[in-house]
C-alpha cells in the first residue's frame, strides 16, 4: 500500500506542494551560486588591476593602476613617456637636446617641456656645490657612459683628457630665454645631458596623467625610479624595496623596504653601469668637479619626497657629496628624506623615514 492510499487525497496535495517548494529552493540556491561565482572576483570590491611594461628612455618602465580608466591612463602614459624621450634624449638625432648640442653659439627653440626640464636642471646644478651639472655630456662621452657597452674594452680617460673637457662642463655657459623658449650653449664642444633628471620628470608626468584619469591607486616604476599614487586598493601602504647595492647583480635582491603613500623613491647607485679595473670600481655617476666617477664612500643614495624630478636630481647630488655633506645639503629642501649606504654597509636615514623603514638584509646596519 502506498502512502497516498493510506492518508487520502489531502496528503497528495501537500506532497506536491512540498516538491514545488523544494524545487524553488534548489533553483534559488543554484541561482545564488552562479551569481556568487561571478561576483567573487568583482564583488569583493577590489577594482581591476592593469599592469603594463614598456621600453623607453633606454630602460624598462612598468605602470600599475587600479581604476575604471586604468587602460586609458596607462596608454596615455606610455605615449607621454615616449614623447619625453623623443624630445630630451641627447642621442636621438631628432630631439630638442640633440639640436641644442649640435648648434653651439645659437639660440635653439625647444618645446616647453624641454625648456622646463633644462631650467630645473640648471637650478639644481647651481645649488649643488659644483658636483651636479646638466652640461655633463662631453665628460659622459669621455667615460663612454652613453655609448654601446664595450664590456671588453675599458679605456680609462687620462687626466689630460679630463682636463681637456673640464671647461666645457659648465652650466653657467647655458643661456636660456624664457619668453622665446630658446636654449644656447655658449661654447663649442659643450653638451647637455638630461639623463639624471629626465626619468623623474617623466614619472611626475605619468602621475599627472593618472590623476587626470581619476586613478586613486597606482604604482609607477621607470627604470627603478618609483612613484606611488595613493594607497593600495585594500588601504595598505605601498611596499617599495631598495636594491641591495652588493646583492646578486642580475637579480632583484634588496636590503630594505619603505612603506609609502603618495611619495617618490629614487635611488642612485654604483652598481647599475660599472666595471672594475685594477681593483677600482668605475661607475656611471660622474662628479662634475673632479671629472671622474664620484668617490664619496656612498654606494647607494635614496631620496624620498613628493616630486620625482627633485628626487632624481638630489639622489645624484647627494650620492656625489657623501654622507655628511649630503645630509647637510638636504636641509635646505623641505619634505625630503634620504637613505644613504656607505661601502662598509652602514645605513644613514633621516628622521622622517625611520618609522616606515625596515632593513631586511641584516648585513646593513642602521646608524643612530
Amino acid at each position: 500500500m502506498n502512502r497516498q492510499t493510506m492518508l487520502g487525497k489531502g496528503t497528495v496535495r501537500m506532497q506536491k506542494s512540498n516538491w514545488r517548494f523544494l524545487e524553488t529552493i534548489i533553483l534559488f540556491i543554484v541561482l545564488l551560486w552562479t551569481i556568487a561565482g561571478c561576483g567573487i572576483s568583482k564583488g569583493t570590491g577590489t577594482p581591476e588591476k592593469i599592469e603594463r611594461t614598456g621600453f623607453a628612455m633606454d630602460t624598462v618602465n612598468t605602470l600599475t593602476v587600479y581604476g575604471i580608466h586604468g587602460k586609458k591612463a596607462v596608454e596615455q602614459s606610455f605615449v607621454r613617456i615616449n614623447e619625453i624621450d623623443q624630445r630630451m634624449n641627447a642621442l636621438h638625432t631628432d630631439s630638442d637636446i640633440y639640436k641644442v648640442n649640435a648648434k653651439p653659439g645659437q639660440d635653439v627653440t625647444v618645446h616647453e617641456d624641454t625648456f622646463f626640464v633644462v631650467e630645473k636642471g640648471l637650478y639644481y646644478s647651481s645649488l649643488s656645490h659644483e658636483v651636479f651639472d646638466i652640461a655633463i655630456l662631453p665628460l659622459a662621452k669621455l667615460w663612454n657612459i652613453n655609448e654601446e657597452r664595450n664590456r671588453n674594452q675599458h679605456v680609462i680617460p687620462t687626466s689630460d683628457q679630463i682636463k681637456g673637457v673640464t671647461d666645457k662642463i659648465d652650466y653657467h655657459m647655458v643661456a636660456i630665454n624664457k619668453s622665446n623658449q630658446t636654449i644656447q650653449l655658449k661654447k663649442q664642444g659643450m653638451g647637455l645631458d638630461l639623463g639624471a633628471i629626465a626619468k623623474g620628470y617623466a614619472a611626475d608626468e605619468v602621475a599627472r596623467i593618472f590623476k587626470e584619469n581619476e586613478i586613486a591607486s597606482g604604482m609607477i616604476n621607470l627604470g627603478g625610479n618609483v612613484l606611488a599614487i595613493g594607497n593600495k586598493p585594500d588601504g595598505s601602504l605601498w611596499r617599495v624595496a631598495i636594491k641591495d647595492p652588493r646583492g646578486e647583480i642580475d637579480s632583484n635582491s634588496y636590503y630594505a623596504v619603505l612603506q609609502i603613500v603618495n611619495k617618490t623613491v629614487v635611488t642612485s647607485g654604483d652598481y647599475e653601469r660599472f666595471y672594475i679595473q685594477n681593483g677600482i670600481r668605475y661607475h656611471h655617476i660622474l662628479d662634475a668637479s673632479t671629472g671622474a666617477p664620484s668617490r664619496s664612500g656612498i654606494i647607494s643614495a635614496t631620496i624620498i619626497t613628493d616630486q620625482s624630478i627633485e628626487a632624481d636630481a638630489l639622489s645624484t647630488t647627494v650620492f656625489i657629496l657623501g654622507v655628511q655633506k649630503g645630509l647637510d645639503y638636504l636641509k635646505q629642501f623641505p619634505g625630503v628624506d634620504a637613505l644613504l649606504v656607505t661601502e662598509d654597509k652602514k645605513v644613514y636615514a633621516t628622521l622622517g623615514i625611520r618609522k616606515i623603514l625596515e632593513i631586511t638584509n641584516k648585513e646593513y646596519k642602521l646608524q643612530p
Binding site: 512540498n18 561565482g37 611594461t53 612598468t62 616604476n221 611596499r239 632583484n252 634588496y254 647599475e272 635614496t302
Partner: protein, 127 residues
C-alpha cells in the same frame, strides 16, 4: 519533507559551499599561475606554469634575427640563450612566483609570472 529531499538540499548546499571556497581560494592565490611573454607590449605567449619535469622550450623571435630562448621546467622559468649584446636576461636569476619578471631590454621582451603564490610582499623596487 522526505529524507531524499533533505539529501538533495544538503548536497546543493555542500556544492555551493565548495564552489564558494574554491572561488575564494583561487582569488586569494591570484588564479592558476601562468607565464606571459610580451614583445613590445604585445602578448606573444600565455602558457600555464606547471610543475612538469619535462622542460618546455620557447624560442621568442623579435625580428631582425633577434631571439631569446626560454625554458619552463618544474615550475621555474629562465632564459637559457639569447643573442642580445649583454645577455643580462640569461644571467638573471630564474623566476617562479607571482609578479616576478625577467626583461630583455634590447629585444623589448618581458617574461612575467601571473597568478599562483606570491613570494614576499614587495610592490616595486627602487634601483
Amino acid at each position: 519533507m522526505k529524507k531524499g529531499d533533505w539529501i538533495i538540499l544538503l548536497s546543493a548546499l555542500v556544492l555551493i559551499g565548495v564552489g564558494l571556497l574554491g572561488a575564494y581560494l583561487l582569488r586569494v592565490s591570484g588564479g592558476a599561475p601562468h607565464v606571459v611573454i610580451e614583445v613590445d607590449r604585445k602578448v606573444i605567449y600565455d602558457i600555464p606554469l606547471t610543475g612538469e619535469s619535462k622542460a618546455k622550450i620557447i624560442q621568442v623571435e623579435e625580428g631582425n634575427g633577434q631571439y631569446n630562448r626560454i625554458e619552463i621546467k618544474q615550475g621555474v622559468v629562465r632564459v637559457v640563450e639569447a643573442n642580445c649584446p649583454d645577455k643580462i636576461c640569461v644571467k638573471w636569476s630564474a623566476i617562479r612566483n607571482n609578479g616576478e619578471t625577467i626583461v630583455c631590454l634590447p629585444h623589448r621582451m618581458v617574461i612575467k609570472i601571473l597568478g599562483g603564490k606570491q613570494k614576499g610582499s614587495i610592490d616595486s623596487l627602487s634601483s
